[in-house]
Symmetry: C2
């Protein structure tokens, strides 16, 4: 139970009631007998700048997680950023130093890769299709390239968005061919849905049935959507005997990295 | 345990680790199976203005309690104040309406009077000495005058502070004689320590032993200091067989009023 000496971390977003991190972190703090709590703060976009200023002078706050739609705004306001957060222009976790200095990181992509590693799925030398080049798609594409992916196809309804991300990735990772704007067909080792398709009943699949049929043995279909846990896309992949990875698995794998980015889990304590 | 749907209230102060309200409120929410939590936020004075701006856009926050040293600053920043908060120029509880509008109240004095009522000590027609004309002393003096006190003596090391408060009280309550700057001797029905004397070991008593000796049967010695719970002043009064009221009793009586001021306890639900 929260008292006056409880150290705090926060999660900011709008809306906020759907997020899983506060319950996950608070369960963890509880099992560790750690007098900490994560609070979920539903903040309007207009209040983000004031929140950042408040956080500088909020001395029992150690850091905060950032979710939609504030990731880009927070990147503009913190004092320092990790290279990956700078690359993406987005921040999903901030550490507050005792002097009020704020350092941002972006763990959406590395959390996804961490979940892959936990199932012993190696990305090096493989091909992937990423559907959706927004915040999650950008972060995951960067993390996949960073893990040695050979071939990446990006698909987004907004061709300019996919093109801009592809250009940045090509510049940074010469070893990975990046394509956009082509019919997304082929025998991909990994297909990741980073679009909202599948959140609402009746949504079309993010990829064609035909594409799923072409996925080779040992390939993986992954989704970042957390609700429903098994999206129609994952269900269709599972029916074909493909391995699947849910958004919830990604979120769970990401928790350690969020805690490290906020400075409340040490790097050694990685099974926190 | 806090989750993403938990409604929040906050308590702001600097420092904050010593306050009791978060533990008291959270125990209450827990026994009521109410998915609410109070968080204790240690905020520097420089961050108060930003916090107020943040609170307007913090949509799952219902209100907040304000403690030292922010009570005056918050009074300057809210949209509306109760008459007693306006009189005192200080706010210790703020309600946040769904549109972000902030309304301040000041329950330090009425909380004290509530504790008196719980022990069936009536103020009407009586005499009181209040030591310390700061935030707590001002609020308690106002509440005592409002309850029909006949005679009030105010004592403060800062004579101007006591004088200014006395002038305001005389203007508002013609029925109560208010004196300052005189030797505080006499047979008071109620003596209240609203100074910090008694918080540190070796502090002098806030009143003379001689004054305690003069207190009549049925009189009461009260302290707003919460730590130690039994101050040397209360101990000296108890040795003389006088009734005493602790700072903790005042704080407990005030909890309902804080919840009402934040709009999370209804007026009917007064034994919340």
């Amino acid at each position: 139970m929260i008292g006056a000496e409880t150290r705090l971390v926060a999660m900011i977003g709008f809306p906020i009631a759907q997020v899983k991190s506060p319950a996950n972190f608070n369960r963890h703090f509880d099992t560790q007998n750690d007098d900490r709590a994560m609070i979920a703060m539903e903040l309007t976009p207009e209040a983000v700048k004031d929140f950042i200023a408040t956080a500088r002078g909020w001395t029992n706050l150690d850091g905060f997680v950032v979710t939609i739609p504030h990731k880009g705004a927070v990147a503009e306001l913190v004092d320092e950023m990790s290279p990956r957060a700078r690359f993406l222009g987005a921040v999903n976790a901030v550490r507050r130093d005792p002097d009020g200095r704020l350092t941002g990181d972006m763990t959406d992509g590395t959390g996804f890769v961490e979940a892959l590693k936990q199932r012993h799925f190696s990305v090096a030398g493989k091909s992937a299709l990423v559907v959706g080049a927004g915040g999650a798609g950008s972060a995951i594409s960067l993390a996949l390239a960073d893990e040695g992916l050979s071939h990446l196809v990006l698909r987004d309804l907004d061709g300019n968005r996919a093109g801009a991300l592809a250009a940045k990735l090509r510049l940074a990772y010469g070893s990975c061919t990046v394509e956009t704007g082509i019919p997304a067909e082929g025998a991909f080792d990994l297909v990741v849905n980073c679009s909202p398709m599948g959140m609402s009943p009746g949504d079309a699949l993010p990829v064609s049935e035909n594409l799923l049929d072409q996925m080779p043995a040992g390939s993986l279909a992954a989704d970042v959507v957390t609700s429903p846990e098994i999206t129609p896309f994952l269900e269709a992949a599972r029916k074909r005997g493909l391995a699947i990875q849910t958004g919830a698995e990604m979120a769970a794998a990401q928790m350690i990295q969020l805690g490290q980015a906020m400075g409340i889990f040490s790097a050694e304590n990685s099974n926190a």
